[in-house]
């Protein structure tokens, strides 16, 4: 399939989703809300996918950037700099996390071992949560900040912005991967020493991917802030904002463009269903699902045998794989 067809398909799918509010009443249908959340998770999953799938770095700090993006809106609104659905504010809510990602990313990513990156990003989320709790009047402390919920008019803008974010994140990830930069990132992922020998500035690309991921996560945070109107450190710096996207990515297939999309929609649906069908014990179910998925489907849905055979004609392996046993990572 040619690039033009691909772009055409993307436009078609986007148009289909854009048409959903024509069929469903956005104020009455739960599915509009469901898709709004699913789109947010697609964007978050792509953000994580970009970092993990293409550079082989496990970030456990998506919630740090998500929460920071939300607080940019909340604080900006409180100080009357940013308004409701303010484009400038939303760009800021992506940029500030991206800047933080660069500042934190340079020292953390310059270490050869990826583990420090995972630990450091997890710590970053916790630090931000605590700092915002201790932030006094500016951050509202542990009570968080409340925005004037009377600004809400309709679910539609949320739906379309979330759709835009999902498409944006997917397109950005796709473009980055297809570009020469993408090849550099893959080289980094597959063999760091070889990439270094070939004169690729590893750090620059890793930090770039990390910052772009943070930008997208921050945008998602700002949208969620506009939706909830109550920005609370415990919620917005909650680990779930990192763990769910990771799970979605892995379930869908890390390091592929469609994986996170499928994973996000599928899991959001599963979690919803389990809550309806198993109200008392659904968190057990979620935990079990994670474990079972990883054991029996570690490469994700997009790399399922039948899926691949049907569409590609042969089986491939997950890109971040077997490193431990071939010793390449050491």
């Amino acid at each position: 399939m040619k690039k033009k067809t691909q772009i055409g398909l993307l436009v078609l799918v986007t148009a289909l989703f854009a048409a959903v509010p024509l069929i469903l009443d956005s104020e009455k249908s739960y599915y509009v809300y469901f898709l709004f959340m699913a789109f947010t998770f697609i964007a978050l999953s792509q953000s994580w996918n970009l970092v993990a799938g293409y550079t082989g770095q496990i970030s456990l700090g998506l919630h740090a950037f998500f929460g920071l993006g939300a607080y940019v809106i909340a604080i900006g609104w409180g100080q009357e700099i940013i308004g409701f659905f303010d484009p400038l504010g939303m760009i800021l809510s992506g940029l500030i996390p991206a800047i933080l990602a660069v500042v934190v990313g340079i020292p953390l990513l310059s270490k050869l071992r990826g583990d420090y990156f995972a630990l450091g990003t997890l710590g970053l989320g916790e630090i931000l949560r605590l700092v915002f709790i201790q932030g006094g009047a500016l951050t509202g402390g542990s009570a968080g900040l409340m925005l004037p919920s009377s600004s809400y008019t309709s679910m539609l803008p949320y739906y379309f912005i979330a759709l835009f974010l999902a498409v944006f994140a997917t397109v950005v990830t796709y473009l980055m991967v297809q570009s020469s930069l993408g090849w550099a990132l893959k080289a980094v992922r597959d063999d760091e020493t070889a990439a270094a020998a070939n004169g690729i500035n590893i750090l620059k690309y890793k930090v770039l991917a990390f910052a772009v991921g943070a930008f997208m996560a921050g945008l998602c945070g700002s949208l969620q802030a506009y939706y909830l109107f109550h920005i609370h450190p415990q919620n917005f710096f909650g680990l779930n904002w990192t763990l769910y996207p990771i799970l979605m990515c892995v379930l869908g297939g890390v390091g592929s463009i469609t994986g996170p999309v499928i994973g996000a929609i599928f899991l959001t649906a599963i979690f919803e269903l389990s809550k309806i069908l198993l109200p008392e014990i659904h968190p057990i179910f979620s935990g079990l699902l994670i474990v079972l998925t990883v054991i029996f489907l570690p490469d994700g849905i997009v790399r399922l045998g039948w899926f691949e055979k049907f569409f590609k004609g042969r089986k491939t392996e997950s890109p971040i794989n077997l490193k431990l046993f071939t010793g390449k990572e050491k």
Binding site: D190, T316, E317, P319, F325, T326, G327
Partner: protein
């Protein structure tokens, strides 16, 4: 002719989407020294990694002592008697020399004979015994290579595979290393050697194989290949009989 110790046929290896080895085939007789030579990136190490079980071949046969062993894990291969001294030696640098050697005899087959094997290794490498309580990482490159070979011998291998044993060593040490290989061979250890130091590798080898970008370009007796004008031209250039 009796069955060779190791017979490899039609071996294909992939790294992800990229094929690294194409239809490699050769055999190593018991008690022989077999060399695989070729330039950087020709796939020499990959052959050893596939034989040691670190890399799973996509297709092909590996027969060792008459039975098929391809696809088995590295830990199983050691127990069967194939031992690899990896490129860069792969010592446990934070462990002592003695601990490294002890772990060399980790397999079920080698463990009961550990004390006896250790005596043998100490005899081969007197320097090891003198420094047995030192951290392996703190030794010089040459000494580390001795420990690495010693550790591999601790598993009582029937086939010892050496990946670039001379890499990064001073010329004098390189000479010692090859002397050791010769000694080992005299003590009936079959050796599969991968080397960039082509002159030395061919001189010591009974038979050898030349690899180029993952494909076999030539096989033959060591001295024949050494005399081959193409080899001379391609790999030794102006060095002639250097080192």
């Amino acid at each position: 002719m009796a069955n060779p110790l190791l017979r490899v046929s039609d071996l294909n290896v992939f790294y992800g989407d990229a094929q690294a080895l194409w239809d490699i085939g050769f055999y190593v007789d018991e008690g022989a020294v077999y060399s695989i030579i070729g330039s950087n990136g020709a796939g020499k190490s990959t052959v050893l990694r596939a034989l040691s079980g670190l890399v799973r071949p996509a297709s092909g046969r590996v027969e060792f002592l008459g039975s098929r062993v391809e696809g088995k894990g590295a830990d199983v291969m050691v127990d069967l008697g194939i031992s690899l001294v990896p490129e860069g030696r792969g010592l446990f640098t934070s462990l002592t020399v003695l601990e490294n050697l002890e772990l060399g005899a980790f397999t079920k087959r080698a463990r009961p004979k550990r004390a006896k094997t250790l005596e043998w290794v100490n005899e081969l490498f007197p320097i090891i015994e003198a420094r047995k309580d030192q951290q392996a990482g703190k030794m010089s490159g040459g000494e580390q290579q001795m420990v690495a070979i010693g550790r591999a011998l601790m598993s009582r291998p029937k086939l010892l595979m050496l990946d670039e044993p001379s890499l990064g060593l001073a010329p004098l040490i390189v000479k010692t290393v090859f002397e050791i290989i010769r000694t080992l061979n005299e003590q009936k250890v079959t050796i599969l050697l991968v080397e960039q130091n082509i002159h030395q590798a061919l001189k010591i080898a009974d038979r050898a194989l030349v690899l180029k970008t993952g494909r076999t370009t030539m096989t033959g007796k060591g001295d024949e290949l050494l005399a081959d004008p193409e080899i001379q031209k391609a790999y030794m250039g102006t060095l002639r009989k250097g080192t």
